[in-house]
Symmetry: C2
Subunit: 328 residues, 2 copies
C-alpha cells in the first residue's frame, strides 16, 4: 500500500485543468504499487489512475516508460494508457513530483494464482514481448547482473544473521551465475517488464486482462522475463510456515511455460539458459529485498518483504540443471 504524497485540493484542480477530463468526481488513494503514490480518479469522462512518481523512480526514465505503454496500447495489448494533456504531453508535475494519468484497467490481481491463470499469464507475457517487438525505446536493466555483485557486497554482512550459512549459499549461486552463458548477449533480447509479479497482472476469472507497473521495464533477454514470472507465480508455501520452505509448483510452472510457448516458442538457447535465468532473477529480488530489509527504518509506511522468500528460491534453482525440471 502506498500513498506517500498528499495532493491538495488546489493542486489537483490546477493539474486537471491541463487535461480535457473535466473535474474530479472522486479521488482516493489506493494500495497499488509499492514505489509510487497512486490515486483512483474519476471524472465525467471515465475512471483513471493518477500516479505520482516518488524518488525511487529516475525521472529521466519516465518518457521511456510512458512511450512503452503508449506503444503497447497502440498495439492493442491491455495496459494502462497514458492520457495526454491539452498540450499533447502525458508527463507533467504535481505536488513537486512527476505525475501521469493513465486509463483504468479492469481486472483483479490474483492473491494465489492457479495453474489456469499461470497459463494465461504466460500467453500474455509472450504477447507483450511480441507487441513490444516494434518499440524502439532502449533502457539498460539497472538491476541486471552487473549490479548484483555490488549490491551483494553492500549487504552480505547481514545475510548470515538472517539465516546461518546464507552467505556461503549466495556465493555458490554467484559461481553458477558467472559460469552461465545466460547473461551474455546471445539470447533473443527485447523490451521486458522485469517485474510481472501477480500484483502487477490483472485477470477476470482465469483470463489475463492486462499488466500494470512497468517501472522496471528494460531491454534484456526475453527469457529472463519468463524466469521472473516463474519465480513469482510458480512458488508457493508448502506445509511449513517458515518463509524459507517455499515449494515450486510444477503444474503452475509448466502451465506458465506452455502458455508462453503457445504464443512465442522458446529457442533452444533460451531453454538451455532457463535454470541460470531463474537463478539470476531470484538473485535480483533476493538482493533488493535484502537491501530494503537492512535499510528500512522500523516505523516505515511500507514493510519490507522478507528476503528469505528469495533465498529459498536461490537454493531451489542452484540445484536445477535443465528447463525440463521447470516443466518445459
Amino acid at each position: 500500500m502506498a500513498v506517500y504524497t498528499q495532493v491538495s485540493d488546489e493542486a489537483l484542480s490546477s493539474f486537471l485543468a491541463e487535461y480535457d477530463l473535466g473535474e474530479a468526481l472522486a479521488f482516493k488513494g489506493i494500495a497499488e504499487g509499492v514505489e509510487n503514490s497512486n490515486y483512483y480518479l474519476e471524472t465525467r469522462k471515465g475512471r483513471y489512475i493518477l500516479t505520482l512518481f516518488e524518488k525511487r523512480v529516475n525521472a529521466a526514465d519516465l518518457p521511456y516508460f510512458i512511450g512503452l505503454k503508449q506503444h503497447l496500447s497502440a498495439q492493442g495489448f491491455p495496459c494502462p494508457q497514458p492520457v495526454m494533456g491539452r498540450d499533447g504531453e502525458a508527463l507533467r508535475t504535481l505536488e513537486g513530483r512527476p505525475a501521469v494519468i493513465v486509463t483504468f484497467l479492469e481486472g483483479l490481481s490474483p492473491k494465489r494464482p492457479n495453474a489456469r491463470q499461470c497459463r494465461s499469464l504466460g500467453e500474455g507475457l509472450a504477447r507483450m514481448h511480441l507487441a513490444l517487438g516494434g518499440f524502439d525505446g532502449r533502457r539498460e536493466n539497472a538491476l541486471g547482473p552487473a549490479s548484483w555483485r555490488r549490491m551483494w557486497e553492500g549487504c552480505a554482512g547481514n545475510a548470515d544473521a538472517l539465516q546461518p550459512g546464507l552467505s556461503n549459499e549466495v556465493d555458490a549461486c554467484f559461481v553458477r551465475i558467472n559460469a552461465a552463458r545466460a547473461f551474455s548477449d546471445h539470447l533473443p533480447r527485447g523490451t521486458i517488464h522485469a517485474d510481472l509479479f501477480p500484483d502487477n497482472a490483472f485477470f477476470l476469472g482465469d483470463t489475463f486482462t492486462g499488466a500494470i507497473d512497468f517501472y522496471f521495464a528494460c531491454t534484456d533477454a526475453l527469457a529472463y522475463d519468463l524466469a521472473v514470472c516463474l519465480n513469482s507465480w510458480a512458488f508457493e508455501e508448502g506445509n511449513a510456515t517458515d518463509a524459507s520452505r517455499l515449494e515450486y509448483n510444477f503444474s503452475k510452472g509448466s502451465a506458465l511455460i506452455a502458455g508462453y510457448q503457445s504464443v512465442r516458442p522458446l529457442e533452444a538457447a533460451e531453454l538451455e539458459a532457463l535454470p541460470a535465468l531463474c537463478l539470476g532473477s531470484a538473485m535480483r529480488f533476493f538482493l533488493t529485498r535484502l537491501a530494503d530489509w537492512t535499510s528500512t527504518p522500523a516505523g516505515a509506511l511500507v514493510r519490507p518483504k522478507n528476503p528469505l522468500e528469495y533465498a529459498a528460491r536461490l537454493a531451489f534453482h542452484r540445484k536445477m540443471e535443465t528447463a525440463e525440471g521447470y516443466g518445459a
Copy 2:
C-alpha cells in the same frame, strides 16, 4: 490509509456470490477511514465500497450503523447505501470479519476546507439531523463525557511529557466541563454523526455531496455534532509550524454555524452551551489521540495523530465564553 485485512480470491468470489452484483471487475484497497479495511469494488452493476470491520468496531453496533445508513438513504440524504445480499441481509462475514458492501458516493474530501465548503457542510449536517429525526435506533455515545475522566486517568501521566503544563490545563478544562449544563439532557437530542471531520465529508466543488464513516454515530445532543465540526473544520495552522499553534478561523466557523442555522436554527440553550460543547468535543478527540499516541507501537501501519493539535483547541475553548465568539 487502512487495509488491514487481505481478502483471498476465493473468499471474495464466494462473498459476491451471495449478492446480485455479478463478479468483481476491479478490487483495490483504498485509503479511506482509519478504523476499518476498505476496498473499491466494481462489478457490471456499478461501483461499491466493501468494508471489513476491524476489532475497534463493536460488532453488536453494526446493525445500528447499517440501519442508520438505510434510513438516511431512504430519506434522500446522500450517504453510502448498504447493499443487501440475496437473503435481504446487508451484514455478513468475510475473512472472519463482519463485512458490508455499500454504494459508491461521488465527491472529494477537502484537504483544507474553505469557508464556502464550511457553510455547505453546516447545511448538510443540519439536513442530516433532520433526516435522522425519524430514525428509531438508539446508541449511547461510548466516547461521551462519562468516559473522559476514565480515559484521562489512564494516560494523564504522559501529558506533561508531550507538553509541559498540559496536565494542569486538562484538569482546568475538566472543571469547566463539569460546571457546564451542556452535558445534561436538557439540550435537543437525536442521532448524531459524532465524527464528521473533512475526511468523512464529500464535496463537488464547494457543495457538500454526502457523508461517510458513521461508525461513531450515537444518540446525543445535536449541537455536540456541530461542536465536533467546528473543531475539525474551522481550525487551521497559523504561521507557526508547531501543532499547538492552531488558530480558529472565524470566517469558516461562522459560515459553518450560519449554514447549520439556515436549515435548523439553534435554540437559545444550544447557543449558550456551544463553548462547553466545543471544549467537550475537543476533550474527546484529545483523549483518544493521547491514548493512541501512547499505545501505538513504532512500526504500526497507521501513524497516530498528534494529540497536541487538540490540546491547542482545548486552550482556545477554555477561554471562550459565548457562542458569539465562534461567529454565531
